[in-house]
Structure formats: structure tokens, C-alpha cells
């Protein structure tokens, strides 16, 4: 546990407790106790569930709708052989008893008595069975209500959990997106490591140099073509030393001043020095955009890392990717087209905004002035 950051001798217990509790809340996140969940389920259910679907006071409503169970009062179905002749009055009972033989002269009551006796037993049995069934139904109803209530609780709990998980997923997605962008950016910066002896000859920003060195270190295993590097190095040494870069005056009315200024600067520093004004062709800018987009994309980055680094292949006449002078553009174009192939839908939309005519007076593209992935002139626009 890290140290408390207390700057003076004064401590305040209540403040410390507040901070400890805040820290516990931070650790646990949205953590509900059983009581809180119950409270949520009964009171604030509409926040988590569809109120039209589930009622928060479900159990209470069921209990109100269902009166408390009381066993039914069964009628007296008893019917015995003396039932017909019974009376609450003693003399009448005596008279009936005396006259019963006379009654039996007229008809035989015994079958009637037996039938009624059987019927009374049937009645009692049925009533008892019905009462048992009612009791069982009541018990089952209680069980159902409890199950429903528990379902409501669990649904609430799940709702809360789903909400938390959604938040976590959002957080993870944003983090993943950030990491992907970062990975693309890193992949786009992959270049080969320049030799130590040619460092003074190249005028580049130290920061980019360092970054390139890091990336070059990663790619050392892949760049085993020492012969090609050697030829490149020799060719660079034959080139005239580029003058130190100056801040180009940015035209204020230009829609893309930085790009134009950088393009002009790069053209000025081109090895042959022939295309000093560095006019851009109409499709050049869109191609450059496509290439940059391709560099950001994994396909283009893969192409760059597997040797298809157009800016770095300049001067190698044997290279199939082309040279700076003649085939550089085609090499770049191939990388760009590869990226377009990976992102077929994005290319037309990005190619649509054409540069203004003022900024691109010449339709002829200057191959050597194309900003390469390690070209610092590409940095401000990205």
C-alpha cells in the first residue's frame, strides 16, 4: 500500500475515513448489498427493468389479491339410522320411537337410510378432498409467489450486472481502439536503421532519428539484404549534401499551407535540384493521402516492413520496387494501391477533395520529392 500523502502534522480522522471509504467504493465499484438489492427491487425497479413488464410490488399485490387461506367450514353430512327420528325435544323423540313400528308398516325406511348414509360419507370425503386441494393450491401459490419474487430480485441483480458489464465493455472497447491506433501509428513509423557513418550526412530531426532507430532495431532481423543497403549508402554518399532546412514562409491564403510549404521545401532539397518549384500533379496529393492512409493501415505497414518501403528504396536501380528518379512513384503507387485494396471504400471518399490549382500548377509529379514515411515533411499533416 502506498504511503499517505500528508504534508503537515495535522490529521483529521473524519477525512481519513472519508478517503478510506471512497477508496473502498473505488475498489468495489458498484457493489450492492443484499439489502440494497432488495430495496432496489421493491422501490426503484423501473430504473433497471421495464416497468410495464414486471411490477416491483409483485408479491404484495399477489398477497392482497389472494385472501389468507382458511380451511372451509364443512357442513354436517352425518346421516345415521336414527337421524330421521331424532329431535331436540325429548317427548317428541319418545313418541317417534314408539310409532316407528307403525311407520315401518307403511314402508321400509332402511334402504333410504342406507342411501343417505352413503351419500353423507361421500359428501364428507369429497369436502375433505376439496379442502386438501385448496390447501395444496394455496401452498403452491405461496411457492409461486416466492419464486416470482426471487425472479424479480435476480432479474434486478442481472440488470445491474449487465449494466456494469456494458460499462466495462465500453471501457475496454475504447482502450482497444486506442491501442489499435497506437499500433498503427507505430507500424507507420517503421523504417530501416541508418548506418552510423551516414548519420552526419543526413539532415533529419533527432527525434525522428531516435524513433527510427528504435524501429530499425526491431526490423534488424528482417533487413538482411546488406548488399542493397550498401549500394544505397554508396549512392547517398555520392549525392550532394542537402542544405540545412529553413522554415518555409507559409502562404496565408493557401488551403493547405503546411503541406505546400513542406512540399516546396522537400523539392528544394531534392538531390537533382532540377524541380525547384516542385509542382504537384492533380492526382499526386490524393495518392499521397492514400499512401499515408495505407501506412496507417496494417496492410500498408506490412508492405513497408517487408521491404516495400518506397522512400527508402531510392537509388537502387536493381530494386524491383523502383528508384527515386524513375520508379519511385510507381513504387509508392504500388504501396498506395495496396492500401487502397485493403480499404476499398475509403479511397474514393478521400480522393475526392482535389487540391486547388494554385497550389499545383504543374501536372508533372516530382518523384524524388514525395514524402516518404520517414520524411519529416509528412509529420505536420498527420
Amino acid at each position: 500500500m502506498p504511503d499517505f500523502n500528508v504534508r503537515s502534522d495535522a490529521v483529521n480522522v473524519e477525512q481519513i475515513m472519508e478517503q478510506i471509504r471512497a477508496r473502498i467504493r473505488e475498489k468495489r465499484g458498484v457493489d450492492y448489498t443484499e439489502a440494497e438489492i432488495r430495496e432496489l427491487a421493491s422501490v426503484k425497479l423501473e430504473k433497471f427493468l421495464d416497468p410495464r413488464g414486471v411490477r416491483s410490488d409483485l408479491l404484495e399485490q399477489f398477497r392482497k389479491a389472494q385472501p389468507p387461506f382458511a380451511p372451509p367450514e364443512l357442513p354436517n353430512y352425518a346421516f345415521e339410522d336414527q337421524t330421521l327420528f331424532e329431535s331436540t325435544r325429548g317427548p317428541l323423540r319418545l313418541v317417534r320411537k314408539l310409532l316407528k313400528p307403525i311407520l315401518k308398516l307403511f314402508f321400509n325406511p332402511n334402504p333410504l337410510i342406507q342411501a343417505l348414509n352413503i351419500q353423507s360419507k361421500l359428501n364428507a370425503s369429497l369436502a375433505e378432498r376439496e379442502a386438501k386441494r385448496d390447501a395444496a393450491r394455496y401452498a403452491f401459490d405461496q411457492l409461486h409467489y416466492e419464486v416470482m419474487h426471487n425472479l424479480v430480485l435476480e432479474t434486478t441483480r442481472l440488470g445491474i450486472e449487465v449494466k456494469n458489464l456494458k460499462m466495462r465493455i465500453e471501457s475496454l472497447a475504447s482502450r482497444l481502439e486506442f491501442n489499435e491506433r497506437r499500433a498503427r501509428a507505430l507500424e507507420g513509423a517503421v523504417v530501416y536503421k541508418p548506418a552510423a557513418d551516414e548519420r552526419p550526412a543526413r539532415v533529419e530531426e533527432p527525434r525522428r532519428e531516435e524513433s527510427r532507430r528504435d524501429e530499425g532495431r526491431r526490423d534488424e532481423g528482417r533487413r538482411d539484404d546488406s548488399r542493397r543497403q550498401e549500394s544505397r549508402r554508396q549512392e547517398r554518399q555520392e549525392r550532394p549534401e542537402p542544405p540545412p532546412r529553413q522554415q518555409p514562409p507559409a502562404p496565408p491564403a493557401s488551403p493547405e499551407p503546411v503541406v505546400d510549404a513542406v512540399a516546396a521545401q522537400v523539392d528544394a532539397t531534392s538531390p537533382d535540384g532540377a524541380a525547384a518549384p516542385a509542382p504537384e500533379g492533380p492526382g499526386q496529393r490524393s495518392r499521397r493521402r492514400r499512401r499515408r492512409r495505407g501506412r496507417r493501415g496494417s496492410g500498408a505497414a506490412a508492405a513497408l516492413m517487408t521491404g516495400g518501403q518506397p522512400g527508402e528504396t531510392g537509388g537502387d536501380g536493381d530494386d524491383s520496387a523502383g528508384s527515386d528518379e524513375g520508379d519511385g512513384d510507381s513504387g509508392l503507387e504500388s504501396a498506395g494501391s495496396e492500401s487502397v485494396a485493403h480499404e476499398p471504400t475509403s479511397a474514393p471518399s478521400h480522393a475526392a477533395p482535389e487540391p486547388p490549382a494554385a497550389s499545383a500548377p504543374s501536372p508533372e509529379p516530382v518523384q524524388t520529392s514525395q514524402p516518404t514515411p520517414d520524411d519529416p515533411s509528412a509529420t505536420p499533416e498527420q
Binding site: 499517505f4 500523502n5 500528508v6 503537515s8 495535522a10 480522522v13 477508496r23 473502498i24 524513433s211 524501429e215
Partner: protein, 487 residues
Amino acid sequence: MKLAIVVQRYGHAINGGAELHARYVAEHLARHAQVEVWTTCATDYVTWRNELAAGDERVNNLLVRRFPVKHERDPLTFGRLSDHVFNASHSVADELEWLEAEGPTSPGLVSHITKHAGEFDFCIFFSYRYYHAFHGARAAGTRAILVPTAERDPAVGLSIFGPIFRGVRALMYNSPEERTMIQSIAGNQQVPSVVVGVGSDVPANPQPQRFRQKHGIRGPFAVYVGRIDENKGCRELFRHFESYLRNGAGKLTLVLIGNSILDIPKHPRIRHLGFVDDADKFDAIAAAELLIMPSFFESLSMVALEAWALGKPVLANAKCDVLKGQCIRSNAGLYYENTAEFVETLRALEFNKWVAGSLGKNGRQYYRDNYDWPVIERKYLDMLQRLSASKDAPGFEALPGWMERRKDNCPPAADIVAATPAGPSTAPDMTLPRPTGPVSPPLPRRPQPAVPERQERPRPQQRPSGGQGRRAQGNRGRRGQSSGAPR
């Protein structure tokens, strides 16, 4: 000045809170007045069995008069009556029956008070809830001073105690929470009262190393001192501490001091030492990183005061209003309400020595300001002088008549206590001054690995807009400085 201290048990071997409190007060007031102690022959607060001889005895040069207890407590009867008067509507007769069942029923003691209270200036009764205080205070009349030692339990809500709280000459409370509770129940704001508490005979130079050597304890530890009982919150303490151990980061051992009537978890970092003498107890507290007080009900935790006197922080159970209030007022202890808070507060005290030291320092100051013996004695003597000067004595309300006593018109005592305001008292009279300026919050600095990683990672391309652009500029500036490249 002649004073009589009336308490349910008294003696060297009796270490109950109120009894020890009474002994300390008696011995310290004996320096300023002639003091006698009137008590029973009992030593066990559960049975009140007569274990000591009745008659006069000298304890630390104090005359102690012991009176026999008429009958022992019947736990079943007492439990049944307690359940009735605490949780159901009942009558005054029921409450008196409950008091008789609780004990220690010593008519001889009450009779002695009736006869001899007039010979003393004041009779100081300890523990309102027992037979001797209820009947003795009525017998002493206007000479009765009460030290209630009341906890937040249902007994304080019984209606028979209201007239006692309103009728005594003065009340010597242990804490502001106790005063608030009794005043809200009994409405006795007019009775003179003061929050006093009690001091302790803390040694000037305890020997922590001696304790470690004697008991073979190495490494940091937290100590609990007291009876190891579920009622004292020890079961909860074990549960919390096991959670702390499961967490794995801390290195504290829990050392338990006191007799146990509870199963103690078997763990190498939970050590039970049993009952130890006072010297060992103070050595243990001095050797500990902190004292833990898990009790739910306390009127005043003497061991917490002793820890503060020794400059140790206290981790208390926040469910006990008194302990929480003491921690807040003293600014010398943390408190917990659940396992997570226990673990975090324990770790905060363990890993932040500076905070623990500051809390301990505050505790020492709090003890010196409020609970050092000169302060306690002065408060008692001031109150006695004030009462001597004033002849205003309202006296006790008469008990209801025979018929009235038997009417079931007393509400459940638990309901009355539940209705009283809870929480720590914010009375400023015993609160240490808080820092007035902006207190730097002792925020635990959470490790943030993402930030340095983001700063260290290579940024080959800058982003064009928003805050990321600004951040990129900041990084660029640093890189520009390091590389020396102009921008």
C-alpha cells in the same frame, strides 16, 4: 469532606469496567477527602455469589464495608423477565421484579446507606442498573451522586430509572454520548452533570521489548485487550481479521489478551496470551502498532484510553457510538463498520506510520487534556464543591402506588432506546481543535502504471487536434529540449 463510594463489587481482583472505575476514583479521591467504600460480598457479576467475607476490610488503605447478597441470580428467571420488560408492554412491578432478579440484592447494604448516608457529604453510586444503585440512591436521598456507566442497551429505557436520573444531585458521565442518551430518555437536563470518565495508572516507561521477549512475539502486531467474548465483538473481529489475512499484503499479527469464552481461530498470526498482569498489558500496548476495540457497547473504553495514553492509535467498532465519538473527538483513532473498512483502516494504520504516529500523538494529547488523573480529580472536586455550595436538591419522585405499579402502561424498553438519537456526539467540549488550515488529505496514492508507460513510449507522429495535440506538444517540448532540435 466525607465520601462514600457505593459499587456492586470491589477488590483488587475485580477488573470489570465500572468496578475498576470505582476503585480508581475512590483511591484518587481519597487524597482529597475521607473515603469509604460500600459494596457487596460478591465477586462474580453473573451469580452474585457471596465469595468475600462480610464486614470491614482495607483495600489500598481504603475502608471497604461489604454486605452479603441475599440471593444469587437465577439466569432463567432473569432472562425471562428481561425479555418481557425489554420487548413487551409491562408494568412498573415487572421492572422492579426484573431489578430484583438482576441483583445484587443486598438489603443490608441499602439499610446501611439509609442509616449512615447522613454522616457523609455525598454518596457516589456506580452503575445505575443494579439493585444497590436504585435502592441505595433513594436511600441516600439528596446526597446521591450517580456515575451511570450506561451503555446503549435496553435497560436504560426502563421507566424505573427515569426518576433516578432526575433525582440524584449530580451525574458524572463517561462520555458525551452517554449524556445525550440519558438526557433524551430521562429529560434530566436540569440535573448538574459533567463528562468525566476515568483515568488510568499508565506506567511512565513501559517495556515493549520485555513483552516481546517474554511472549516470543516478533514483527508488528495489533492488540486486543479484554474479555474474548462474542458480546465484545470478538467473533466479528476474528472474521474481519481473517479477511485481512486472506488479503495477504499486511504483516500484522493479532495478539489477544484476556480470558476467552469463545473459540479462537487457529492461525499462526492470531496469538492468544490469556490473562496477563497490568505491567504486561501496558508493555503489550506499547509494543503494538495499534489497539483494536471491536466492542459494540461501551460507556467508556478504559483500554482505549490507556492506548492513547501510550501514544498508540485505536481501531474501533463504529457501531459503538461512544468509541466512534471518542475516535472523532480525540482525532486519534479510526473506526470500521464492515470487513472492507476494517481491512482498509488496518492497512492504513499499518502502512502509514506517519498517520499512525500522528493519531497516537493526538491520543496522548487527548488523554492528557481530558483523562489524566489531575483533570479527573479536579472535575470531581469541582462538582462536589458546586454541590456543597448549592442546596438545591429536587429529590426523588415517589414510586407509584400498589395499584398503579401493576398497570401495564410501560412501553417496551428496547423501543424507548431505539427512539433515542444515536451516533457520536458532536459536543465540542471534549474535542481537540481540528486543523484550521487546508488539511492535506492523506490520500493513498494509487499506483498508475499507465501514465509513465504512455510518457515513455515512442511517439513517432503527432496528432492534429484537441487535447492530444496539446499533450503531444508537451512531449514534443521535452523531446525538443533533450534533442536540442529547434521547433
